[in-house]
Symmetry: C3
Subunit: 261 residues, 3 copies
């Protein structure tokens, strides 16, 4: 059966870097399905890449290999790791980008076998010289044990968890998507614990109670709802909430047990 590889990078769409990685992948293993998960990660944003992988990998078939190259430490001392979790596989710089899947991972290896790399490894493009050839070999049936020894201290990010009080949740903005939807770090379960009177505030401004879907309100009106990642989101129906509220990553979002809180 054809192997599936996903690519997530901060390489953007203008340069040939992604295409070159695909060339090396196809030169290593011809019968691949390569899926671009995202190449629009903000340059060097390990946290954003972690968010994208965390919310996406489980929708792919088992045995998919997820390659993430958001790698500000390229050419320096950071390790390369291979991770297995729940029949999914990951190949990535050891910089926290896999903080999601590392939670409960079945296996973590350090990729050190230089025979699997390109003969000349540049100091600036390990996507081409390390990640692509190793990924290609893994998809051609390489036993992961050939990669290198186990790692017991992979780097994890301090994931920005909300503060949970008895009558309020203090969270923040995690991600802004193409529509300007404001994704928070507050989960559906956390909101539900506050009961049916829960009210959402963004940077002090009242958004109201969570709604079931965008069409619960008038067009161009702001609303809160639980999005497809299972997270609290603030949106404007057929509009751009991020622009409307001047909101960006890290801004404060509070959910209170009732409107007067």
């Amino acid at each position: 059966m054809k192997s599936i590889i996903t690519l997530t990078t901060d390489f953007g769409f203008g340069d040939p870097y992604v295409g070159i990685m695909k060339g090396v992948l196809l030169a290593t293993s011809r019968d691949l399905t390569i899926v671009d998960l995202s190449h629009g990660i903000t340059p060097h944003s390990v946290l954003e890449a972690d968010f994208v992988i965390r919310g996406s990998y489980s929708f792919f078939p088992e045995n998919t290999l997820h390659v993430v190259v958001v790698d500000p430490g390229v050419g320096g001392g950071r390790r390369v790791i291979y991770v297995e979790k729940d029949q999914h596989r990951f190949l990535d710089p050891d910089n926290g980008v896999l903080s999601g899947p590392l939670d409960g991972a079945d296996r973590v290896l350090c990729v050190v076998n230089r025979e699997l790399f390109r003969d000349a490894v540049s100091k600036t493009f390990h996507g081409r010289d390390i990640f692509a050839p190793v990924a290609g070999r893994l998809c051609s049936g390489l036993d992961p044990v050939e990669l290198g020894p186990p790692v017991d201290d992979p780097v994890r990010l301090d994931w920005p968890e909300p503060t949970l009080g008895r009558d309020a949740i203090e969270g923040g903005v995690l991600y802004i998507d193409v529509y300007g939807n404001i994704v928070t770090n507050i989960t559906e379960e956390q909101v539900e614990k506050l009961g049916s009177g829960a009210h959402v505030f963004l940077k002090g401004e009242e958004i109201g109670k969570p709604r079931p879907s965008y069409d619960a309100i008038e067009k161009e009106t702001p609303l809160a709802l639980i999005n497809s990642f299972g997270l609290l989101e603030i949106a404007v129906r057929e509009g751009n909430a991020s622009r409307r509220f001047g909101a960006g990553t890290g801004d404060e979002v509070i959910v209170t047990r009732n409107v007067d809180a």
Copy 2:
């Protein structure tokens, strides 16, 4: 033979939404060729998506399944439809996005069989939860009759037709492309009926008579010509006509029988 699916969305290129849809597609049907037709549709612009599909689908092989997710009504009451026309297949929200292919369609079905959807259907991402799994099943040989009952009143857009007079055509700007080329809603046939003296005006400014190709004029000079969609276009040779004329969708374009009209 491998099935081909095209995807047209307003999801952009920065977020993982397109990649997640591909994950679900590949989890449903492994042997697919997935082609990105466009993910750069202006958010919520059903008219623009209709324009893209209308001008593109017939260049794909027969039996290709065209999935369009430009879906401002997601989570609300809008239907999902499956359309067959001239050996092409379409799966889309019933919001007018298929106004082109619906003209003379061979079959229109309402997709209501929830057994084909993901177990949990979110209120915000039907691309992942409905369109991708249903498309995957269709490419695995599902008989469309399993989708649901026929529809005889699919939603159609009021396509902005030009007004045709004896000595002039009053049309408008339909689409601006990456080069800044200004695509109008006036067809080659309509222009030809005005004869060889036909002159084009954009927002009152004379562009001149239609030319056979870009190189008929000097660089950086404006011209009118019939483009590859068979529509009248206003361009600047090796320049950007939209910026030059400050032109956008809906602006007035007039073609007269002669220059003095």
Copy 3:
């Protein structure tokens, strides 16, 4: 074995032009792997496309067909050429875009056989009407001799070579990538000839000696290094050098034998 085609265009990502080309390719030859090398070439920039192809093609498997459609002369008199070099194949407008591979090419043919084109060839979209159908036929086993006669005068760009002095190299900026890294036309070999005291200056401002990798310096600090294309690059660690220095294509870069030069 599946054929591989790469596409490099200035079509961008918003319009359906790339998707339409893929439709025509798949209609001609079903069992293709199509790789997007770049669609973000600056509109009409033949030099930029040449840079991208030059630095990318050799990473793909032998027999890959590289199709470049950066084609300001579309619809005019420019020829279409097919080039073979070192087991790689190219199909492109004859406008200099292949200046890299033409150096030492094994075969150059002029594509004139109209039976291989779409029946109706537009004046504005040869990617769809000529390049895609011909590329599909080549991947289905067409003997290139069917394309047309040999060409002995293909168009070549004046590639901007640096001026090499005994104590200094006078070069320039060739390309800015997504990170804002400033790629110059000065090669690793040329820098090495100046010895270990070599110093880099951008628009008169001292950058310092070339470093082995980004992490040789503090974050947000400028540095020079040899990049993955084997070219001298000026970067800011985890920052944007192009913005920092207001640098763009054509700006002056000088490397001197020592800091006092």
